[in-house]
Symmetry: C2
Subunit: 353 residues, 2 copies
């Protein structure tokens, strides 16, 4: 009888690839917008259950928790447990943000399209804000001094969730850092064509350096790496061959940035914005050739500043909102880091810093 119960529950559940059947309150909204999800361990035929070993809390959520409870370990643990028990997911009600998790695949429904197998070590690439979750170990191993939360419990992946198998040949922190920004190089690779001049704003960062490597692989003729300071330029200098020209400029100064990009061989056919600073829209647009494309990956991008900025400059540029999801993006980015020692070294320096 006990073994038949999950199977029976499984059969009865109407599975939605988006996880709508897991939404308890309010009914009918998407899991991310829901107040409460059903984290029942019995999976539908297209779901996957993961044995969780670590949560990686979003930086904003972790900061809010530490500040609210003045760093008190017991209170922070209790707050996180309370959120997960109440909501069936780890979504900080104040910041609205979640994070990601790592774990081991435990059970795979026969209709799951994710291609996972029991025993595989994975990371989720969809947010914790939409992932059904139960924690069973009281978080006793978490000292709350970092947003990395060792834990025990389970999580559910839907048919349309995104997860990536952690590779054996790379350290887990490196893989997680790469996966965190893997949408940028994948979309850059789609947009950059053979012979293009590419400007990467924030080229010494994680998404910027991977995007530069992707642009090179896609056949860019010239890559202009823009950085805000000499220290970042030094990182690029050490990464031989990653970019062709290094430009030190304030990306918030449209005229100054565009002039320096021009001196370095611009304007660019494709400009990739990877810096988390506000006010970079005009500079990116002005550094891009008429008929070119700007890809905005920075979450600090203002939609209206970009739209009105292009109009005000009479700039005929295609402006893309950097979608964090491109099929195969994690594998693509991991392959890039394997194939590009300079980027791997740059990630290494950033991870130890």
């Amino acid at each position: 009888m006990t073994t038949s119960l999950p199977a029976s529950a499984r059969d009865q559940k109407p599975a939605s690839p988006l996880g709508l059947h897991r939404v308890l309150d309010p009914l009918g909204v998407l899991p991310q917008a829901a107040w409460r999800l059903d984290p029942d361990p019995a999976i539908a035929s297209d779901e996957v259950r993961v044995r969780v070993d670590r949560l990686n809390l979003d930086a904003a959520s972790y900061r809010q928790l530490r500040e609210t409870y003045a760093g008190d370990t017991d209170k922070i643990r209790h707050a996180v447990l309370e959120i997960i028990a109440t909501r069936g997911k780890m979504q900080n009600p104040v910041t609205g943000s979640g994070g990601m998790l790592t774990g081991t695949v435990e059970e795979v429904g026969p209709a799951s399209p994710l291609g996972l197998k029991p025993g595989q070590r994975i990371a989720t690439l969809v947010s914790l804000t939409l992932t059904p979750l139960v924690i069973t170990d009281s978080l006793y191993r978490w000292d709350t001094k970092s947003e990395q939360v060792p834990c025990e419990g389970h999580a559910i992946l839907f048919a349309r969730s995104i997860a990536a198998v952690l590779p054996d040949d790379l350290p887990v922190p490196l893989s997680l850092a790469v996966m965190d920004v893997c949408g940028a190089p994948a979309l850059t690779s789609r947009v950059v064509h053979e012979g293009a001049v590419v400007a990467i704003i924030g080229a010494a960062g994680k998404s910027g350096s991977l995007s530069a490597a992707a642009a090179r692989q896609a056949g860019a003729r010239s890559i202009i790496g823009v950085v805000p300071a000499q220290s970042e330029a030094a990182l690029l200098h050490e990464s031989a061959g990653l970019v062709d020209h290094i430009v030190i400029a304030d990306a918030r100064d449209p005229v100054g940035l565009a002039e320096k990009v021009k001196e370095a061989g611009g304007p660019a056919d494709v400009t990739v914005v990877c810096v988390d600073a506000t006010g970079c829209e005009g500079g990116a647009i002005l550094s891009t050739a008429q008929g070119g494309t700007v890809i905005f990956f920075s979450m600090a991008t203002s939609f209206s500043a970009a739209a009105l900025g292009a109009e005000g400059l009479a700039a005929d540029v295609t402006m893309l909102i950097g979608n964090g999801y491109v099929p195969g993006h994690a594998e693509f980015a991991l392959d890039l880091i394997r194939a590009t020692p300079s980027v791997r070294a740059l990630f290494g320096r950033r991870l130890t810093a």
Copy 2:
């Protein structure tokens, strides 16, 4: 001597296509970001001087002025004159917004690329926030009861400004209403391919109906018009042939919207968002087929909601920031309205409402 002065001033001015030479304070920023511009009537060789007859203040700016001065005509006139005299442009310092103007071309520099001729009646399609302006008539004809400001004075267009000749065969209010949204149909026309299924969210509005007409002309196989209420659906019903399917749905409800679009023949290859409501990103993404494109024209679009929403839904969609400028956009939209009686009738009903 007096006639040689403007020519001499003209020769000495280092002309910038973006108007940087007109920026007085702070030096080096773009005209839109400047506190003060130089509205000297002497033009550089690539500039155009326009005899202004009407300002069309941005709605937000006009509302702020009316509310601040409690509708007092003298005070509102004085405030606008003061802004223009101080800043050399009509940019409301509180709202940051401007508007557009109409006037008659007075002098065209020999190197101007805008293709204008003296005597032509034009409308500017770049914002007043970056247009050097002088008012000479104290605005005595403006009753301040509308954002339409009859006036006398002059304005300067740069090489990279955008202006459109007001056509003789269409009423001026209709032409201005069409030009106000002309970026949307032009970009829609670029993106829609032969045989595409297109969903227009806000199809009964100005930009929405023109975008529907543009999609039809570009060879769309099926056009799904989404509207929020029965009254808007009635407008579409009267516009025979503009769309193939009419869907009444709340665009802020992702699941509900996507289901209704699906019932009408979706998901869409191209979804065009033309409603000025917040929270429409998820619904637009979910109504679009994998590999499809979403064009966001609404200024209420949240960059992060779009980027994170697509990732959370594992949606492989291209997301475009609707650029208000596409070369030839005004002529394209005016031709559309001439060729599409149903859209012209719809504009007519909206303008008289």
